[in-house]
Amino acid sequence: MSADTRYRGYDVLDKRDTPSWDAVTRAVIDERLTAADHLPQVATGAAWRVLRALCTCIVPQPADRPAVPLAALLDRRLAANRGDGFRDARLPPLREAWRIGLDALDAESRHGHGRGFADLDDEARIDLLHRVQHGACADPAWRGMPPALFFSHRVLPDLLSAYYAHPQAWSEIGFGGPANPRGYVRMVANRRDPWEPVEARPGEEARAYRENRRVR
C-alpha cells in the first residue's frame, strides 16, 4: 500500500472471507478485479493511449503498488454502454461523447504541441486539461460538444466513479468496504469496530500499520 495514505497496511480485500462480505458481493468484486486483463473494445488504438494518459492525470497513482486499471474499467463500462439514466442535452450519448472527447484531446494536443496527448509530459497534459475544464479550447474536433461540459459531466464523474469503485481505492481512503451481513456497532466519533481500518495519527504509523494488518 502506498505512502500517500493514512491507512497503511489496511487492505479491504483481507475481509473478503469474513462476515462483512456476502456471496453476491464477492462475485461482483471478483469480476471487477479481472479488469486488469481487459482488452480495449471501445477506446481502441490512439484513443486508448489518450485515455490511459488522461487517467494518469485525473487520478495519479502511486508507483509503489500495482495501479488500478482505470482505463480498462472505463472501457468496460463503455463496452457495456452503462449510462446514468440522464444526460445533459448538449452532450451526445455516452460512447459518442467519449469517442469525440478523446479524439479532441489528441487534436488539441497536436494543435498546441505538435504531439499527441499521450506523448506530452505531465505538466503539459495537466495544463491542457485545465484549459478543457475551463472551456478554453475550440478545436473543430470537439464537433460542437462543449469541452467544459465533457470534462465536468463525463471525464470527472466517469473516471472518479470507476476508480473509487475499486477496492484498492477503498483501502486508500479508509473505507470499511462491503458490510453484509456484518454492518457496524460502534457509531460515534473516534470509535472503530475491529473490522474497520485504523487511521495513522502522526507518530503512530507503525502501530497503525500493525493494527491494519490485523483488520478482519
Binding site: D88, A89, I173, M187, V188, A189
Partner: protein
C-alpha cells in the same frame, strides 16, 4: 444464487419471488390479458404498490406492471455502489434548461418496488399549512385536500412501515407515537445535533422507514450504510418488502420486466387497458380502470405517448398542464472537515434532521421551507461530489484522504412550481422504440434565495459543530413532482382530489406527479398516504356505483 432477475420475468407461472427467503417463492394469482381486470396499475413504487395492495385488499382484481426486475434483496443486493446501479432507471433521458437536473440514481428506480428500493427512507409529514400554501402562505397552489385527513393517512402509513422515529416530534401538531423507536445516531448525525444546539434550534432523530427492531421475517438495520444502494438486510421498509407481499397475499398480480408503452382509450374517453412489452412481445391487458404510477417523468411521458386523434396533446391533458410544473427539491449541501474521525459510512445516511426552517416563518426572504439532514456518502458518491467541485489529480487524492473526517449537512428545499419547468417528449428513442423524456428545469429567484439562506445557515451550524475548511455543494436536486397536479378546477389541474383524471374518468394517477407543491420534506410518505386515500375513495365511489 438464481439467474439474473433481468433476464426473464419472475412473476409468472402462478408464483412470485419470496423476498424474505433465499431462492424462495410465494404463490401469485394471475389474470389473462383478455380478462378486463378492475385495475391495471403502471408502476410499483411508493404510489403504485401501495395502491395495488389496498385495492386488492378491498376486493378489486388488480394487475400491476413494472419495467424493472423483481429482486430478492437478501441474496442479490451486493454491498457495492456500482453494481447496485441495477436498481436505477438508467434508460436515457435528456435534461436541459438553465439548471438541468440529474436523474438516475438520484431519484429514479427501475425495479419492483420502484425507487423505494434505493430511497434514503426519510419519512416525514408535510407541514399542515403546505396543503393550503397559496391561501395560507401566499405562494404555489392549494391542494384540494384537508391536512387533518392526510394526518390520519400519514399515521396509517407510519404504522404499516413500522417507521422508526423519535418519541416526541418537535414540530407541527400532535402526532401519535411512531411504531418503532428511533435508531442510534452516528457521529455525522451528532454533528448536526451539536450545530443545531449551538445555534439554538431544535433537531431530532429522523423518522426513518428502516426497522430498529425485528419485524416478522425482516431483520432490523445493521448500520451497514449502503441504504441508497439497496438494503440487503430487508430492514428498509421499501414497497418491495412491505406493500408488494401484502398485495400478492390479497390476490394482486405483479408483472415484472413489463414496460407499458401506451394507455388505450376508446371513443367514449374511457381507458380500455394498457399495451406493454414483456418477453420481447407487445401485449395488451384489458382493464376497467388504469392507474399510472410512474413518477413525475415517466407518468407524463406515458400519457404523452398515449396521444390519440381525440387527445392529440396526450391523455388527461385538456388543461395543457400535463408535464408542466415539474418541481424538484433543492438538495444543496455544506461540507467540512472535523478533527474527529466521523466515518459517516456507518448507519443510514440521514439519521438526524432539523425542520426548523420548515416551520419558522420569521427571518426568511423567500417562500417555502427546507429541512436539512446529516449525510453519509459512500466513496463513489463522495468522489463524484469532489469532481463536482472541479477537483481532480493530486488535489482530489488529498481531499479523498479526509473521507473519514468529513461531515456535511444537506437540505431538502422547497422550490416553487413553475409552468415552464416541464417534461416533454424528445426525438431520441429508447431501447423499446419509444421517444425518451426531455426534462427542462430552471430555478427561479425565490429558489435561489432559499438555497442561499440554507447554505449560510448550514455553514454557521457546521462551523459551530467544529468543522473546518467548509465548502458548498451548490448544484444538486432530488425528488420530482408536479407534472400531473391535482386541484379543484379541471382547467388548472390534471386530476381531482381523488387522483382521478378530469378528462378520462377511469384513469387515475398515483405518484408524486400529482403534488401541486412539494414542501420542504421528502415525498415518499405523502405519496403513500395519498395512495391509501385514493384506495379508500375508489372503494367509496365503487360502493356508490360511480367508478
Amino acid at each position: 444464487m438464481c439467474a439474473d432477475a433481468r433476464e426473464r420475468p419472475r412473476g409468472a407461472h402462478g408464483r412470485a419471488p419470496d423476498v424474505f427467503r433465499r431462492g424462495g417463492w410465494v404463490p401469485m394469482r394471475e389474470y389473462d390479458d383478455r380478462d378486463a381486470v378492475d385495475f391495471a396499475i403502471v408502476g410499483t413504487g411508493a404510489g403504485g404498490a401501495t395502491l395495488a395492495c389496498r385495492l386488492a385488499e378491498l376486493g378489486f382484481r388488480v394487475v400491476a406492471f413494472d419495467a424493472g426486475a423483481w429482486w430478492r434483496p437478501l441474496e442479490e443486493f451486493a454491498s457495492d455502489e456500482e453494481h447496485q446501479a441495477k436498481l436505477y432507471w438508467t434508460d436515457d433521458r435528456l435534461c436541459d434548461g438553465a439548471d438541468p437536473v440529474r436523474l438516475g440514481s438520484n431519484n429514479s428506480g427501475k425495479a419492483v418496488g420502484g425507487s423505494t428500493v434505493h430511497f434514503a427512507m426519510v419519512s416525514l409529514r408535510f407541514r399542515p399549512e403546505w396543503f393550503k400554501a397559496r391561501s395560507q402562505l401566499g405562494y404555489g397552489a392549494d391542494w384540494p385536500l384537508d391536512w387533518r385527513e392526510m394526518w390520519r393517512y400519514y399515521a396509517r402509513v407510519e404504522r404499516a412501515l413500522r417507521i422508526a422515529g423519535p418519541v416526541r416530534y418537535p414540530w407541527g401538531p400532535h402526532r401519535g407515537r411512531y411504531p418503532y423507536r428511533a435508531h442510534e445516531l452516528n457521529e455525522a448525525a451528532l454533528v448536526l445535533a451539536r450545530g443545531a444546539e449551538a445555534l439554538g434550534i431544535r433537531w431530532t432523530p429522523t423518522p426513518l422507514a428502516t426497522l430498529s427492531a425485528p419485524r416478522g421475517p425482516a431483520h432490523p438495520c445493521v448500520y451497514r450504510g449502503f441504504c441508497v444502494s439497496g438494503c440487503a438486510t430487508n430492514a428498509k421498509q421499501s414497497a418491495l418488502v412491505t406493500w408488494i407481499p401484502r398485495a400478492l397475499a390479497a390476490g394482486a398480480e405483479i408483472r415484472d420486466l413489463a414496460m407499458v408503452g401506451r394507455v388505450a382509450v376508446d371513443g367514449a374517453d374511457r381507458a380500455t387497458g394498457v399495451e406493454y412489452l414483456r418477453e420481447g412481445r407487445w401485449r395488451f391487458q384489458r382493464a376497467r380502470n388504469v392507474v399510472v404510477a410512474g413518477y413525475a417523468v415517466e407518468t407524463p411521458r406515458l400519457l404523452l405517448l398515449s396521444a390519440t386523434g381525440r387527445h392529440p396533446q396526450g391523455l388527461a391533458n385538456s388543461s395543457g398542464l400535463l408535464g408542466r410544473y415539474f418541481t424538484v427539491h433543492a438538495n444543496q449541501a455544506v461540507w467540512g472537515t472535523m478533527d474527529d474521525e466521523i466515518r459517516s459510512y456507518k448507519g443510514p445516511p440521514s439519521l438526524a434532521i432539523t425542520e426548523h426552517w420548515n416551520y419558522a416563518d420569521e427571518g426568511k426572504d423567500f417562500f417555502g421551507g427546507y429541512c436539512y439532514m446529516s449525510q453519509g456518502p459512500l466513496p463513489v458518491v463522495w468522489a463524484v461530489t469532489q469532481g463536482g467541485r472541479g477537483l481532480w489529480g493530486k488535489p482530489l487524492r488529498a481531499e479523498m484522504q479526509k473521507y473519514n473526517h468529513q461531515a456535511g449537512l444537506k437540505i431538502v428545499g422547497e422550490t416553487l412550481p413553475q409552468a415552464d419547468n416541464r417534461v416533454t417528449l424528445a426525438d431520441t428513442k429508447d431501447a423499446y422504440g419509444l421517444p425518451v423524456a426531455r426534462v427542462t428545469h430552471a430555478y427561479c429567484d425565490n429558489d435561489r434565495r432559499l438555497i442561499a439562506h440554507s447554505m449560510d445557515f448550514m455553514s454557521r451550524a457546521l462551523a459551530a459543530a467544529g468543522a473546518r475548511d467548509l465548502w458548498r455543494e451548490t448544484d444538486d436536486t432530488c425528488h420530482m413532482a408536479g407534472t400531473a397536479r391535482m386541484g379543484d378546477d379541471p382547467h388548472c389541474s390534471v386530476v381531482d382530489a381523488d387522483c382521478r383524471s378530469w378528462d378520462i374518468r377511469n384513469l387515475w394517477i398515483c405518484d408524486g406527479s400529482v403534488f401541486p407543491t412539494v414542501g420542504g420534506v421528502n415525498p415518499s410518505l405523502t405519496i403513500q398516504a395519498l395512495a391509501l386515500r385514493t384506495a379508500d375513495r375508489i372503494a367509496a365511489l365503487a360502493g356508490r356505483g360511480e367508478l
